[in-house]
């Protein structure tokens, strides 16, 4: 199950969804395959997580922000959130 920060909804539709995947990259790629515009809001063109974005897997922040290789279990809950920043 993947959920997105509600602040993203203002720019692009991103309802919570359930997809399969063994890593954060696999999970997000499946979400983006159905919702291509969402990709550029979460990751940059090299596939790295955008600077002020955060991803949590079962409550733990992921450590590989470049390749998104952190493992995901079939029952995992993913949250794509934003860090507090800016003014």
């Amino acid at each position: 199950m993947v959920s997105f920060t509600p602040n993203l909804e203002r720019h692009v539709e991103c309802p919570s969804t359930t997809v399969e995947g063994a890593t954060v990259r696999e999970v997000l790629d499946r979400v983006f395959a159905d919702n291509p515009r969402l990709r550029g809001y979460v990751v940059d063109e090299q596939g790295a997580l955008r600077y002020h974005m955060l991803v949590f897997v079962d409550g733990q922040q992921i450590t590989d922000r470049e390749r998104l290789s952190d493992p995901v279990r079939p029952t995992s809950e993913l949250y794509v959130m934003q860090a507090l920043s800016g003014g």
């Binding site: 602040n7 993203l8 720019h11 515009r37 550029g40 809001y41 979460v42 940059d44 063109e45 090299q46 790295a48 955008r50 600077y51 002020h52 974005m53 934003q82 860090a83 920043s85 800016g86």
Partner: protein, 364 residues
């Protein structure tokens, strides 16, 4: 009538002429950071947004701002595996768009546009922003790696001048990386900032064309051999079509600033908005003025009628001043003030005193 497009930290605002004064009549993308707008004379308004968390995005309107659609954002090619590229501070230089810093119609082909970005790339779209391609000749040019940060930590292309004599000839201003020009629509590039002087480098690099922190570059439409540049430590002018630059050493209260506008009908007339100095980016003495030369930089008028004359700390960024096709001038400041002049800068009237910080002003 010529609409004024004001890009601000919290939205894109449109001002229209009512009688003899401009009034803000509508806003778009309210609450979002609109860093730049570009009006394509062939049709289409473009707005660059910077969403912070969600990255830079580009939108286009085909009905003068009433409705907008998101179009593609220029994207860097995949970074080769194992390639290490560092910025001047030793940090990794990401091959990812961090800011859409300049937009211009590419007049050699219908529907084509140029976009300059941070970090230091030029992109071209041949389909009004549906798709983008990086200009590889520039991105993979060895000298590009000598560019360094200026306005931002990473280098960027902020000025794009499409030559009125030949649309395949395009010059760009780089902060920091000097002036570069292509004569073949981006296939090859050569540096064009000889004669500029950098105060902020060791002596042996002072006249290095690549070390020049150009803040804003403009070309006179009716006399395209004449160019003006507001540079980090002064004002420079080229009258021989970029073969060399000459420094203008005195211009009213200060030669420091970001923006410059040249009269499209008169290469000797140009406007600047001075700040005190790079380490004190405020109007000299808290008095906001515009400087204007009408004799090619020999003398400058200091124009303050209608502008605040005390406790004013407005800074005008590089895209913050513009001239309309019918000769109106306008500029917007970091304080959210926007002023316009219908008499070539002699007198100014407020368009607004309370907009969000202004990044850019342009006219439709």
């Amino acid at each position: 009538m010529h609409s004024m497009l004001i890009s601000t930290r919290k939205g894109l605002f449109v001002a229209e002429l009512s009688g003899n004064t401009y009034r803000v009549t509508r806003g778009h993308f309210i609450g979002d950071n609109v860093t730049l707008a570009m009006v394509d004379p062939r049709g289409g308004w473009y707005a660059a947004l910077e969403h912070g968390h969600f990255g830079p995005k580009l939108h286009r309107s085909d009905d003068h701002g009433e409705t907008w659609i998101e179009i593609a954002t220029p994207a860097y090619p995949p970074k080769p595996e194992g390639l290490e590229e560092k910025d001047m501070f030793g940090r990794e230089l990401k091959w990812a768009t961090s800011l859409l810093w300049s937009l211009a119609p590419a007049l050699d082909k219908e529907g084509a546009i140029w976009c300059g970005t941070i970090p230091g790339a030029m992109f071209r779209s041949d389909d009004r922003g549906a798709t983008w391609k990086i200009v590889e000749s520039l991105w993979f040019m060895p000298e590009r790696k000598k560019w360094s940060g200026g306005g931002r930590d990473f280098p960027g292309i902020h000025s794009i001048c499409v030559d009125p004599r030949d649309p395949k000839t395009v010059a760009i201003g780089v902060s920091t990386g000097g002036v570069w020009r292509t004569r073949d629509a981006g296939a090859t590039w050569s540096v064009a900032s000889q004669g500029m002087r950098a105060e902020y480098t060791p002596p042996e690099k002072k006249f290095d064309p690549i070390a020049q922190d150009v803040h804003c570059l403009v070309q006179c439409k009716s006399a395209p051999r004449v160019w003006w540049a507001q540079h980090h430590n002064g004002i420079f002018k080229s009258t021989n079509d970029l073969e060399s630059w000459t420094e203008i050493e005195k211009a009213g209260p200060s030669v420091f600033g970001f923006t410059v506008v040249v009269d499209p009908a008169d290469p000797d007339t140009a406007w600047f908005v001075p700040g005190q100095k790079d380490e004190k980016r405020i109007p000299v003495g808290g008095k906001l003025v515009v400087t204007r030369t009408r004799d090619g930089g020999k003398t400058f008028d200091v124009l303050g009628r209608g502008l605040p004359d005390n406790f004013a700390y407005d800074l005008i960024f590089r895209h913050g001043m513009a001239m309309s096709a019918d000769g109106a001038l306008a500029f917007g400041s970091t304080t959210g003030n926007v002023f316009a002049s219908r008499d070539r800068g002699d007198t100014w009237s407020a368009v607004s005193h309370h907009l969000p910080p202004v990044h850019a002003v342009t006219f439709a």
